[in-house]
Symmetry: C3
Subunit: 302 residues, 3 copies
């Protein structure tokens, strides 16, 4: 889990994913010769900060977003959210501006958020949750498990995948925006019919810790039933623990697959967490294991 | 109206339109030899559950959505909406899950909806309004007139249309998602400049029963005035009864034409109903006649 | 400023931009021979009412929207908004319908707006704020400075630009809809990597009159930090007065660049106004000067 710990420590609030993207790209280049298939790599300015890996002859693409929620300094001591962070008073925030390093605390409520840094912060400065990784035998707890675990899962998949796209995306927490050009590139380069969203979801009254990876039947948007049925049948065959989610709200990179000008089926599959979008996101290690196990199984058979 | 009665009895909640699509496709194949022009048919997995018919040299496309609102089982005895159904207590719902057929009643209010089925229902199971078609000399009343009447209208149009696309779409009630790939296919196959939305709208203080088919000047979105003027002038010439609608809210497949990467004008034209998105949608037969009459007139002249 | 005064007097509520587009097109044709580079002009039905000018070999496009907010007659004496006009009681509205010219006053509040015209107005009729231009040594005040000043700025840019697209768009105030087909045309004709949005923003506690043109770090959506940093550095070098904006809400044609299927960076740059979307929009002439100065500087160097 060295790679996971490393990426948990790199800030990449939506719109500023450059540093994390560089780290992931470097890791890909170091590791790829040990992978079953060496992928073609697409990255750089033409892809903004996204990274696309093409393995063999893809039928399916796996998407993991690199960005996180956070805060942006407005005027005076005001903060405004990037994405949808929970406003938990006294959360420790970190960042830097033209005058140097910043560590401060969050105050206020939804729609009126402030920091307590003794000086003003340059408008537009991004602030992340201070990282604090806690690991025991059952759980991992940290800021930004959403979606560092999804990235970790995608990187593990790279070790064994023979055919498929693995894609690291930006902006997911703040309305999206990279998926349209990524999907266009994929469909014009080596097109797919299916997409899996490697991301983290919520513990609810129907989704519990230690019950397995979550296959999402719906969030705000609804994948096509025919594709869901296919995935659920494969999951049953696999013997890997999984649970089904049915939610009215929430979204993911799957939303932009749904609204793209391509007939691509999609499904969100990932572990569930408590304390979503706080510094204390918490995931069951057993559920993470199921997530790591089900992706290679599905990508091979879909 | 045999075809109308048949399609009124087939469930096809957004995301699960397969059964209705198959029935429509079968009807098309049976009927097409009696039509003035035999269309090219595009359907199957590459189009998910959508069906596209190309007649002659199209200038205009007509879109009718096949999906309906409904409910989805969540956990315990909870339901969540698909699309925007009205929550009318004691409405009878039907569906089936792994344990068999389901008939139950709806309880609760917006944001807290329940069923009274004596056992749990598999999460993700779709439930439709029980169908009850009522026909007298003035009105038809049933669940899902929105948009079975729009489909019926599109099928009647097929009998006489010489040039144009007739398209049966999915997902309209739940945010859309098929229109982008359909429009791309149309524009790359036999492009159009104009789109008509064959769908059902609302009776309001300005739109009354028996006053004719509704030409919508706007809903939440606004078609280009130049195109509206052209349609309204043709409608006046036709002598077919029509009324104009001006609404602040609501949407249709027209929304996705507006936001597509093609310069295509669009307009919503259809009969108005009472009891929208309930089991008791009610439409004037005279208004339906106007709808059936105006489509061939417009498609020929636009 | 003759051109500015002329376009301030032409009505063009979203969806009905034809008259203004014709005037701008006529002006372009009259002036282009005096410009440093004579552009290729794309307009007409294939572009609905939009106008695209291609100068030299573009790297950047500048977008200025032609439409304005306003009102539409519904039934009886009801009005509904087009875009997001402020509801200021007694504002004078103007328009025309099948029975002739209309001048009336606005009454009511958000969600219940009325006019006091002594007769009914044809449903669907558009009503604009009566124009009243006020100019002194420090300020210009009028209806629809948003976005007549953005258009004025784009036209001034045409005089000296050597490489770039200058584009006049529609529908921006009412959710957009032309940008997707414009961006597709640009990318297939002479593609760009960068977009500047020539539009007017808001005076707030952090953005003041006379402090220079506003470079927006974010509104509801967030441009990529790397591109913002480049622009801000160039702005510093230029010596042109500018201020930075950080807002949680609001949107522009930049939104549709963000969600387009092209990897194009974007940034909103324009003067700030008070009394947004009222008949009394007010802009500092010094800020307008900074706006006029920064566009040629940036477009040449980006």
């Amino acid at each position: 889990m060295k790679f996971l710990f490393e990426i948990l420590k790199i800030e990449s609030i939506s719109g500023d994913e450059g540093q994390l993207a560089e780290f992931i790209l470097r890791s890909i280049k170091q590791r790829k010769t040990s992978w079953k298939v060496i992928p073609e790599i697409y990255s750089g300015e033409n892809f903004h900060n996204c990274i696309l890996l093409k393995f063999g002859n893809p039928r399916t693409a796996v998407f993991a977003h690199m960005d996180t929620v956070g805060f942006m300094a407005r005027y005076n001591n005001q903060l405004i959210p990037v994405g949808g962070p929970e406003i938990v008073a006294d959360s420790v925030l970190e960042g830097r501006d033209s005058l140097g390093e910043i560590t401060c605390k969050l105050h206020g409520e939804q729609d009126e958020i402030f920091h307590d840094f003794p000086r003003g912060i340059d408008p537009g400065t991004r602030l992340s949750y201070a990282q604090n990784i806690r690991l025991d035998e059952e759980f991992i707890q940290a800021a930004y498990l959403d979606n560092r675990l999804g990235i970790y899962n995608a990187m593990k998949l790279c070790e064994t995948i023979t055919d498929g796209w693995v894609v690291f995306t930006t902006y997911e927490e703040h309305g999206g925006g990279c998926m349209p050009f990524i999907l266009k590139f994929i469909q014009e380069t080596s097109p797919i019919k299916q997409a899996l969203i490697s991301d983290i979801t919520w513990v609810t009254e129907g989704v519990q810790f230690h019950e397995g990876v979550v296959i999402s039947i719906r969030d705000k948007f609804i994948p096509r039933k025919k594709f869901l049925d296919k995935i659920i049948n494969l999951a049953k065959e696999s013997g890997i623990p999984f649970q089904l989610e049915v939610e009215e709200h929430g979204g993911s990179d799957g939303r932009e697959v749904q609204f793209s000008p391509y007939a691509i089926d999609w499904c969100f599959i990932g572990a569930a967490e408590e304390n979503v979008h706080t510094p204390n996101e918490k995931v069951s290690l057993a559920d993470l294991q199921s997530m790591l196990a089900i992706y290679p199984y599905l990508v091979e058979r879909l």
